[in-house]
């Protein structure tokens, strides 16, 4: 190997390692696709249950627990899918499941997740509060956005945009609900409004993110880093 070829090879190693060490995508496109589809399905099912979709009249009030339960199932499905995809990528690259990037991402997002979990616990304990779903839904959306933004120093730009979209939606929704100028829009609050917001953000936003970040399986001919 002549010196120029060797120099090019070394630059490739440097670039590859720098990307691996400095950029970590906490949410992959397949995870976003599954999470987005599950969220949209849950949102549509809950809106049908409330009589908003496919019924002539609205059905009675729903408790905060009616709202929390299905969304916890969506969370479990999405976390399960994410764990599988992270594990598969780790297997393919011959790296441990809990890579330094994954641990760094976890450390960054834990504070926001803890706040969301604590408010969910309070909501579960007060199931009769009719505004509970609105508060919970917007808290989840806002905290999730903040969690993604907390990884901005090592996340790709698409993930930062996704986080910003969640935070913006939560703030905008809250401002509209409490606006002294606009007439009250009942569809934006309570069980119905919260499910609209969840479907829009966790469903629709994730599907857009998946579409923009989807890449075909890594080229098998791509040279792996072989150091030994």
């Amino acid at each position: 190997m002549d010196e120029r070829t060797r120099a090019a090879e070394h630059l490739r190693i440097i670039r590859s390692l720098m990307e691996r060490a400095t950029v970590y995508r906490a949410i992959s496109a397949p995870t976003a696709l599954i999470g987005g589809l599950a969220s949209l399905a849950a949102s549509i099912w809950m809106l049908r249950r409330a009589g908003v979709i496919g019924a002539s009249e609205r059905v009675g009030a729903f408790s905060t627990r009616d709202f929390i339960g299905p969304w916890l199932i969506v969370l479990v499905i999405t976390l399960g899918a994410n764990t599988f995809f992270v594990w598969r990528e780790a297997q393919r690259d011959g790296r441990p499941l809990f890579s330094p990037g994954l641990r760094l991402a976890w450390r960054s997002v834990v504070p926001s997740i803890l706040i969301a979990a604590a408010i969910t616990f309070v909501g579960w304990r007060n199931p009769s509060d009719l505004e509970g779903p609105t508060i919970l839904g917007l808290t989840w959306i806002g905290c999730y956005g903040l969690a993604l933004l907390s990884t901005m120093t090592f996340a790709p730009r698409s993930l930062v945009v996704l986080g910003g979209s969640f935070v913006f939606t939560a703030v905008f929704w809250l401002l509209i609900l409490s606006s002294p100028v606009l007439p009250p829009i009942e569809e934006l609050r309570g069980y119905i409004g919260a499910n609209f917001a969840m479907g829009l953000t966790f469903g629709f936003f994730h599907l857009i993110y998946a579409a923009f970040t989807w890449r075909p399986e890594r080229n098998a001919a791509a040279q792996p880093l072989v150091l030994e």
Binding site: R4, A7, A8, H10, I13, I14, P96, L227, E228
Partner: protein, 98 residues
């Protein structure tokens, strides 16, 4: 005319270059993290780190957490050497394209 002797021979080896690159990307790395990221054996990694430490490019700190943990970082000399090495590499590749 390019002078290949300008390339730092201590860095111009795949294993040590990889270590230097990771250390340049983040403030510090534990031994275990370096090992898992680079898929190197303990012995090989220790040998390279000792070499880099001996010539003053890498510093290490030992901590006693729930078990002993050694972290590695680039020294000022190490960062300068790495930047210089990158510049020379780029010149070589550019010259090859012309």
């Amino acid at each position: 005319m390019l002078d290949f002797d300008k390339l730092d021979k201590a860095i111009h080896e795949k294993g040590r270059l990889s270590i230097m690159t990771l250390l340049a990307a983040r403030p510090s790395w534990t031994f275990q993290d370096l090992k898992s990221e680079l898929n190197m054996s303990d012995g090989n990694l220790v040998t390279h780190l000792r070499t880099l430490h001996r010539i003053g490019l890498v510093a290490y700190t030992k901590e006693m957490l729930d078990r002993p943990q050694t972290s590695y970082a680039l020294t000022k000399k190490g960062r300068t050497a790495f930047d210089q090495y990158l510049r020379v590499l780029e010149q070589i590749v550019k010259a090859g394209k012309q």
